[in-house]
Symmetry: none
Subunit: 418 residues, 2 copies
């Protein structure tokens, strides 16, 4: 199955918005073994959209288009679909109901231009939108498939996951070649060290492929295996994963789309433990990540964002004299913060961070990127020193990741050193 | 001048790498007033590249291609250029010198496949590469321009900045047309309501363009004006901006790349005011956003992520009986939380949020998406009810944005109720 993706929007052409939609769809099609041979971006322009649609629908089995389905004058995709497929617009009562419900939920009046979005191409199967007003469109013609979705990423993603991928999957059943991809997520070890510890890659992988994909949260190891049957490919993937785990297992916190907060949440729930957090330099990011998980109230009790020194003393009972002697960014303050938040909240565990995120705040002996992370449980109370980079936002991400990783190691009894 | 950009690479098609090169080039061309009408991505495949080159060179004045110029077997762009322009490869001594120098600098031997990169298309002007081994290529034919650059972003960017942009600039010098873009950032009003309030767009804009770009933080209004001179275009842009501001000004919190936390930080610093935050449902996100701003310690004193009811009572002196009567998610609790955090921290302002982010936690009369936001200053203490959607992470984003917007309105004396 050959596919093409068209993204519509001047904001992408002029570089104001990155084309994350095409990347998201590309990844999903790749997982489905569908061959995405090309993508294109065109502006909010009827002629340009129609031309690209004609060109690409002609030479592909699947064309997916995103963007230009909104309610305003610059959204012209629906008009292009009607022209291209020589169909007409008809009112869809389900969609109208969805739109009215959405506005009611938000306590707002429905406008005429939103109600007009319930007029959909007659020949289309409608993809309902749980997150916005524009419905998506699925059309089959001449054994080819055409899909249109809104450009708002979270609306597009939920349509893709809930409707388009399952429907394409059923079309791909019966096709023989099998590809499997697995991502192992590591943190706390640089790419080059990981590479060295894995040793001879040809021996490790045989004819599988391994990619190293680093970012501020760690290095993703992507394993790709091709073969003739589900079983064979699955077995080889498992074998390679086991060999990788035997070499660098302690750094692997999760797989595929998991986040470290997902993993930590599961561990805390399994063990029936509660947690509180004292954050200085990350300013709330650790609490934010922990509470991104549905049901986090079962283990997360409170977070104290003690940004000022006064807050550290008042809320966490950090010793004021000691803080003046060693500085707010110190091993001892981190330890006392973790202990203080655990004591104040009565939780099983307390974690803390204090550091210098930059660009300002460095002193002669304390550079930007210096961070101390503390952790206390019922048996011990400890802290550890870290050195990150120059960029404030990346440093916040890295610090939050290291703190959650210290927590994961504590819960699993894996030593943190090295 | 009409332009097209081709990006080459399987990793972009399957969504492993975002197409930042096309975005970078798009922004530069937009600044040069060159009309980038479309872009495309094709895989590392000779036939596909040649086809796309034929198609796009035919209908544009400028085609820029990035990627596929490396030394290995899967880099086929140079071969395609030779075929398409019916030319041949000749050795370029300057490029050979550059390559040898680069390897010497890194203390490595030059390989045969790297030396081969000094063989360049005969009809091309060479763009030397200070950061890697692959030279870029500039070809003029039939009054059209063709440019090829490596796909490594920092190599491409330096070629673009040092060679391609100045050369295109000199070609555009005689051309009169000027284009200016301005983004006005709104929040707290849906796209369709904004559209209605702006009334007759033809009258408002005349021949300027206006795009509505919504996401969970609000709607971006992008104004584009074309004209003959800098001054004329600047004046018309100012006029249109003023007219838009007169209609929906209270919803506009910033412009272009600003975030709401940038704007709020500036206002707090200007007024010398300090802030503390009590977060329940957003779980630290508001504090995280506020502390993303360098220097935030000058106005942000502390944040209390009072996730449990116990924490609300202990840290914020929320009245326990009242909370049992009205529930933790209520107008009165929001008001008391804002008041409590302001009192505990001794800041000039206190803000608070409490709500149900989903998917769980709803009750019969309190649905997912229900949020109360409180704000207290030295004169008053108030709270307001909001209704957001079903998605937990989007609800956290929306709630944090609404809280910061209430703060902005408070600081500017703009009433929050419409």
């Amino acid at each position: 199955m050959k596919a093409h993706v068209i993204t519509i929007g001047d904001e992408i052409l002029i570089g104001q918005t990155l084309n994350t939609n095409a990347a998201y769809i590309g990844e999903k099609l790749s997982n489905l073994q569908i061959d995405l041979t090309s993508t294109s971006v065109v502006g909010d322009n009827e002629t340009a959209i129609l031309d690209d649609l004609k060109r690409t629908f002609n030479s592909n089995d699947l064309v997916i288009i995103t963007g230009g389905l909104g309610p305003t004058h610059d959204d012209v995709t629906r008009k292009c679909i009607v022209k291209f497929f020589e169909t007409e617009l008809v009112k869809n009562e389900d969609v109208l109901e969805d739109i009215r419900k959405l506005f009611k939920q938000r306590g707002r009046d429905v406008t005429k231009i939103n109600e007009d979005q319930a007029n959909v191409p007659k020949i289309a199967k409608i993809i309902r939108n749980g997150r916005g007003t524009a419905p998506g469109v699925w059309i089959e013609k001449d054994k080819k498939v055409f899909v249109a979705m809104p450009g708002v990423p979270y609306e597009m993603k939920s349509m893709m996951d809930d409707f388009v991928v399952p429907k394409l999957q059923s079309k791909m059943d019966g096709i023989k070649s099998v590809k499997k991809i697995k991502n192992l997520l590591t943190t706390g070890i640089p790419e080059s060290h990981l590479y060295e510890r894995l040793g001879n890659l040809d021996e490790l992988l045989q004819d599988a492929k391994l990619a190293f994909l680093p970012n501020q949260f760690g290095v993703k190891l992507r394993i790709t295996v091709h073969g003739d049957s589900e079983e064979e490919v699955g077995n080889r993937l498992t074998e390679i994963e086991q060999r990788i785990r035997s070499l660098v297992g302690r750094y692997i916190y999760g797989k595929d789309d998991e986040t470290l907060e997902d993993v930590v949440a599961r561990l805390l729930i399994d063990r029936g433990l509660s947690l509180s957090v004292a954050e200085s330099c990350t300013g709330g990011l650790i609490c934010h990540r922990l509470t991104n998980i549905a049901g986090s109230s079962s283990y997360f009790e409170r977070g104290l964002v003690s940004y000022s020194n006064g807050a550290k003393v008042e809320l966490l009972e950090v010793d004021e004299d000691m803080m003046h002697e060693f500085g707010a960014v110190s091993l001892e303050v981190a330890r006392q913060m973790a202990n203080g938040v655990k004591a104040a909240s009565g939780t099983d565990l307390g974690i803390s961070v204090t550091g210098i995120m930059g660009p300002t705040g460095a002193t002669e002996d304390k550079p930007v990127g210096l961070v101390f992370i503390g952790i206390c449980d019922d048996k011990m109370c400890t802290a550890k020193e870290f050195h990150f980079g120059d960029d404030r936002l990346l440093n916040k991400d890295r610090t939050s990741q290291a703190a959650l990783e210290m927590l994961r190691r504590n819960l699993l009894g894996i030593p943190y050193d090295e």
